[in-house]
């Protein structure tokens, strides 16, 4: 069977301790929370840290709190299962509860954390393979190579952001806290990701993600997350669509967020679709036009478990259905 490479493991005594360890060891160290992604990748030879800094000991990062002034604060170490079952999350951020509940399997949701899911390594079926397989295929930009296997002329890695919760966080205008040697900084989830599969977020090696803050949704906000996958468990999204819309008393759309995942290395907000929804009653034509914009904007590649033409075609269907999900109860 595949064995983990040898490494030292040190549980963090505090956030500061974790950050100090990461700062001292630089690229030789990696933090681990649930380990559902990192250890599997280490077995494949994708990472070989000399030191793994365990974050599970940081129990202070396992709290979820909500108040109607400041919104929702989620400690990064909350399990995906805890997020999916939290009553405030279910009441005020149903798309997040839904997305968290659609990650992996019950075992993965019990071990995997919300912070880990937001930091999920981008995925590609040229990359998530054993060292022997990658050697036989030829290495790629993301690891050991100098070309992208799925888009050979691409200057950047095209691995997929397959986090189920990332597009939802973006749709809710969430912010995240990153703590590093120089203290804490807060950035919008929108600015956290970048569309380069080999450098998919702006978190520095000596920073850890400690908290996610979601603002109080505007009253009348409705939201959902739709995920296409080949099986009803286990699978990462082939494509996913998060939608959040707010309407005023007349049913006119005042805010709209339409965000895709699994079509690029970062969650992709479809502003053109949002514009088409704003100011409308969110009825047939505007939603169909918005779905069309989603279809046009999403450009999947041949690096997931279904053909790119199918995944592209499904963008329209998923967007349409997601919009129907959020609109239906309004009428």
């Amino acid at each position: 069977m595949l064995r983990l490479p040898t490494f030292d493991f040190q549980p963090a005594r505090s956030v500061e301790h974790a950050v100090a360890l990461l700062a001292v060891h630089g690229n030789d160290a990696l933090p681990v929370a649930g380990g559902t992604d990192l250890y599997a990748n280490m077995k494949l030879g994708l990472f070989a840290p000399r030191l793994v800094v365990g974050l599970r000991s940081l129990t202070e990062l396992r709290r979820i709190s909500f108040d109607s002034q400041h919104g929702l604060r989620i400690g990064a170490l909350c399990s995906l299962d805890a997020v999916a079952r939290d009553s405030a999350v279910m009441a005020h951020y149903p798309a997040l509860a839904r997305a968290a509940a659609m990650v992996g399997t019950p075992e993965i949701r019990n071990m995997g954390t919300i912070g880990g899911n937001l930091c999920l390594e981008t995925r590609c079926n040229y990359y998530n393979q054993s060292a022997e397989w990658r050697k036989a295929m030829g290495h790629c930009l993301k690891r050991d190579g100098d070309i992208c296997r799925v888009a050979v002329h691409s200057p950047t890695c095209k691995a997929i952001n397959a986090s189920d919760t990332a597009p939802v966080m973006l749709a809710y205008d969430a912010r995240i806290a990153l703590v590093g040697p120089n203290g804490e900084r807060s950035i919008a989830v929108r600015d956290f990701y970048q569309n380069d599969g080999a450098h998919a977020n702006v978190k520095r090696a000596d920073e850890i993600l400690t908290e996610i803050v979601l603002p109080v949704p505007t009253s009348g906000t409705r939201s959902t997350y739709r995920k296409l996958r080949l099986r009803n468990a286990f699978d990462f999204p082939l494509v996913g669509v998060a939608v959040a819309v707010a309407t005023d008393a007349d049913g006119i759309c005042t805010q709209a967020r339409v965000v895709l995942n699994a079509v690029g290395s970062a969650p992709l907000e479809i502003v053109a679709a949002e514009s088409l929804l704003l100011g409308t009653h969110l009825r047939g034509e505007s939603t169909a036009d918005a779905a069309e914009e989603v279809f046009k904007a999403g450009k999947p590649l041949e690096n997931a478990n279904a053909g790119l033409l199918y995944r592209k075609r499904m963008l329209r269907v998923l967007a349409q259905r997601a919009l129907e999900d959020v609109v239906r109860p309004l009428h």
Partner: protein, 784 residues
Amino acid sequence: MGKNGAAPSQAHVVGASLPRIDGYAKVTGAAIFADDIALPRMLFGKLLRSPHAHARILSIDYERALRHPGVVAVAVGGDLPARYGILPSAQDETVFAIDKVRYVGEPVAGIVAEDELAAQQAAALIEVRYETLPSVMSIDEALLEVDGSGEKIHPESRKANNVHKEVHLTFGDLDAGFAAAERIFDDEYFFEGNTHAALEEHSAIASFGADGKLTLWSSTQTPHYLHRVAASVLDLPASRIRIIAPPVGGGFGGKTEPVAHELAAAHFSRKTGRPVKFTLSREEVFYTHRGRHPVRIHLQTGIRSDGSIAACRLQTWLDGGGYGSYGVATTYYTGALLPVTYKMGAYAFDGCRVYTNKPPCGPKRGHGTTQPRYAFESQLDEIANALGLDAGAYRAAIAIDPYSRTINHLRVTSCGMREALSAVAERTDYSEKHGKLAPGRGIGLAASAYLCGAGLPIYWNPMPHSGAIVKVDRGGGVTVFCGTSDCGQGSQNMLAVIVAETLGIDILDVSVCAGDTDLTPVDLGSYSSRVTFMAGNAARSAALDVRERIAAAAGAELNIAPDRCVFERGRVFDRDEPERALSFVDAARAAEASFGTLAGVGSYTPPEDLHGDFKGSGVGPSPAYSYSACVAEVEVDFETGEIRVERIVLAHDCGRALNPAIVEGQIEGSAYMGMGEALMEESAFRNDLHRIPNLLDYKTPTILDTPRIEAIVIETEEREGPYGAKEAGEGPLNPVIPAIANAVADAIGARIYATPITPERVLQALDGTTGKLRLRAPVATRTA
């Protein structure tokens, strides 16, 4: 006798859904599987595998690997040069490739070290220089003549292309049959290759003793064949080799032939004098493979005006991968069992297996019969629709009769196909629903047949196919010794049921010692659904052998004729005056006092009149056939193409159910596995590599994808089976795939002529962008 000397609670073990005897250990985790075995001073092995699909090996340098800390030994092709293969006609593999490699993942060298990680890291230090050759990755390419720039995968093969085996058989007057047909249905299908995906990755542990004897534990379905091949490859007398098959964590045909890591473990243990373990990673299991062949199928069926089959011509092209494996048998199997279900006026079969540069294909549950069955039952569905006939009633009308011969001369005995067909149709209201459900909803039906054991052994010999010894202890405990390997199907329990029933004792008073070539008589192995029928008969005969002596002694004690002795509920009593009785223990003691040590022997050899007399008649005959029928109901999403299987009703004629709960379990597992093959599973390749050699990307259904499964046990009385039993391990899988295909066709009003039936293919069919498959040029491969 029960555990505390209490009488068994019921008179008969046969037919009772008792907990299986090996279930306790498996459920609690106490069962010792191969990889659980750890011996003192054990080394760990790793195979270095080829990164090229087709290449010549120029040199191998392992000096650096040998110097890696912890490494103890390295071996390459020349160290174990003997060729082997499961079939005498295909001795084409070596433990490590010699001269050339034929698929990505083929073992090139082996390495053993103090721990697994060191072996893994050191394997990467072995430097192999290759000269790559053009690869052949499809049936089409393999059928082309190899020109100057290429090289045949097996240069010694006689043909100018990469064809491995051709078969041409004709029964009856085909031309006259087609001439008499009112309509001829002519369709092409493609059945995608897939793999077994057993939970347990293969594992082998070898220990070579100072006495020069080798003990080899392996997760194998065929300890006897491993015994033979190990003797030949290691050049050791078979008498110095002991093969032990621990409980196997799923086989499905993937562990039915000796493969490199088992022989490498033995070699390294001999070389180092230390125990050696090899456990494959999941990716390595995908390369070891021996899974379902991809098969292209051309099927022409001529129908008389009354719907009966006047003539049928089947052509199959099998993508065999890099080596022979069971492939010659697989090729014959694609044609041999089609006529076992329905009467035909004439039948012709042309099979062709090609080599490609992929992991070798072999047998998977249903071995070679699954692919043409999918095609045939799909076409029958179209025939029934075209003739305006009910699919179930139509099949029943053309069904083979019990106790008859097929057009290809196979002997059919008991046959519950008509009963199975009506059971599934009635349970689901098939006739009321088919063609009448709302758009997007569909119902489909199919039937099938399967072997109860291959009628002939893999290597020719006149000896029994299965043997058993039943030993009776003075305390009343009974041990049955038999060479079977339990790959989860319940063969341990089956042996206990047969012996407990024959001796009238509690099943927990029977111990089973199986799969150990030092201790147990030969059983050929867990393949071709042969174990219940053959080992069951051997065990029954061994139990009857010892019972005869116990009856003689008990008769003497009770002053009755031995043939009046009844064995039941832990007692031996007079048929006419049941109060004249001895406990089984006392009867056994009396017998031991009279006759000495109490043990019975038994064996089973299939009858000889099962088949015709023509070249190729050796594949297909079986002492009996099982029959199955399935109805599937599906819902299809017209926008996403997603298929939700809502219900599978699967009826199976298993003869007499020795343990109905286990039969139902086999039926349920078949429904699940068949559904995965129908909808998801595929051996997919890209740039010569297996594209998805892991269980995240290679899709098998999760429990959330699995519908309600209703198992219906159809009992027939099979005269030659042990207590009337036939098989249940493989047969029920076959009708599931076409039943789902037929249900999808009913749901969307279009047929998809290939598996797996993915959402993408559903949308293409709905768009009208795919229709019937059309074979391209090199189809005419009949030898001139």
